[in-house]
């Protein structure tokens, strides 16, 4: 089973996770820039974070045979802090980088005027830089937030077919599907979706334009949830081709809209004896 995790925050994860992900079939992933748990207070700490997503993290992933790409943006939560909004002015120089395959995560958190501005501005940037957009739908007041997101996309220059609406569930999948955008589902241990509910959605909705991710981060989450969905799909009677479509071909098609996917990472070499390259022996 080959797996592309289209949403996972690897900066929060250990090398054991990379190893386990590779063993489960993960060969590619996208790490969206997002909130780090602790609010940032200046644009400079965003830039160091973006640089890590374009430097150290892909290097780490490659040690484990996994192709790493990222999406960059000012996230909805921190778009509300005027100390952070200058990030928007510097984003263009990052959006030309080879490793950037979308603008994201953008979207709504609390649906404030500042979030309106950040979302509209960054959808416009996506259109200008010929990138798709990865849009987070809010945890609170999700359906209303989704409808408002779809309206803002419709008013933008970005085609809805170049938008991924993420963190969907049973109550939002129909509205999202009708918009023409791609459909993302995050599978979590307790919150968001679980693998059996995901299988039910796939049964009723089908596999078209559906992406499944672990969204694993620094909270309670599981980087192997993509594999568990694949296994649950097979157990429920879906074919291997269905699984490949959801866990590989759909994310490749969506992020491939950027023209920047590089999926040919060599298989991992054995680590330097007794001296992990990953830590430089330090």
């Amino acid at each position: 089973m080959r797996i592309f995790d289209p949403h996972i925050h690897m900066t929060s994860r250990t090398t054991d996770d990379y190893q386990a992900m590779y063993a489960s079939g993960v060969r590619a992933l996208v790490e969206p820039s997002f909130w780090l748990g602790q609010p940032r207070t200046s644009p400079a700490s965003f830039f160091d974070y973006f640089d890590a997503l374009l430097g150290w993290e892909p290097f780490r992933a490659a040690q484990y045979g996994i192709a790493h790409h990222c999406t960059l943006a000012l996230n909805p939560k921190e778009a509300n802090d005027p100390r952070c909004t200058p990030v928007l002015e510097e984003l263009p120089r990052y959006l030309v980088k080879d490793g950037v395959v979308a603008v994201g995560e953008i979207g709504y958190d609390s649906m404030t005027p500042a979030e309106d501005v950040a979302l509209a501005t960054q959808l416009q940037l996506a259109a200008e830089y010929a990138l798709p957009a990865m849009v987070h739908t809010p945890h609170r007041d999700k359906l209303a937030g989704l409808r408002r997101t779809i309206d803002v996309v419709a008013e933008s220059n970005l085609d809805p077919e170049h938008v991924l609406l993420d963190h969907l569930n049973e109550t939002t999948v129909k509205v999202a599907a009708d918009s023409g955008s791609w459909l993302g589902f995050s599978i979590y241990p307790d919150t968001k979706m679980d693998e059996d509910r995901m299988v039910s959605v796939l049964r009723s909705h089908g596999t078209d334009r559906v992406l499944v991710n672990s969204a694993a981060d620094w909270g309670k989450s599981d980087p192997l949830k993509t594999r568990k969905v694949g296994d649950a799909m097979l157990a429920a009677g879906f074919s291997e081709d269905d699984v490949d479509k959801v866990l590989w071909r759909n994310p490749v098609a969506f992020y491939g809209l950027s023209g920047r996917l590089q999926l040919d990472v060599p298989a991992p070499e054995a680590l330097h004896e007794g001296n992990s390259i990953l830590r430089g022996g330090e």
Partner: protein, 198 residues
Amino acid sequence: MNRESIDGRLDSAAVAWLDQALAEAAEAADEPDNVAVPRWQLRFAAAGRHCGQENADAVRTLLLRRAAADVGTLTRLYQQGAAAERRAVLLALPDLVPGPEALPLVEDALRTNDTRLVEAAVGPYAAGHLDPHAWRHAVLKCLFTGVPVAAVADAERRAHGDAELARMLADYASERTAAGRSVPADLHRVLIMTGEES
């Protein structure tokens, strides 16, 4: 690598892309800094996806040479670059910067644990300008991170007669042995270069 040998590895779309990029770089060399972000610098960032990652080093260093990038431009491209762009800046230093002004970029790269950067940092520019203490640590870092010592430019000349380097290598070998670990073969190679092995 020169233009002809790069072209042999590119398809026709990439050759046309590179033609345009080099023309823009040459224009910038004649009229430096007349716009905020010159077009060739956007192409410098995008080189991997247009010419293939396997050709990105060669294409990027060619662009830097054609634009006759100065230390200020190289520093900005390094600081604002993804790892692959930083690597290209490091590789271009010996051709573009005669003096030691770009050493902070080499020192930055040697602080990372990214072997792509460490490898690019220990080229001829480092051989020509790093002070003895920093150079010895660069050699040791290669041994620690698994960067082949063959990547260290001018190693024989710089290592020769360096008793302090020989001591550091011997100490490292003892530490490995005490831990029951093997001593990297490259360590012996450098130790022989010092001519100080006991």
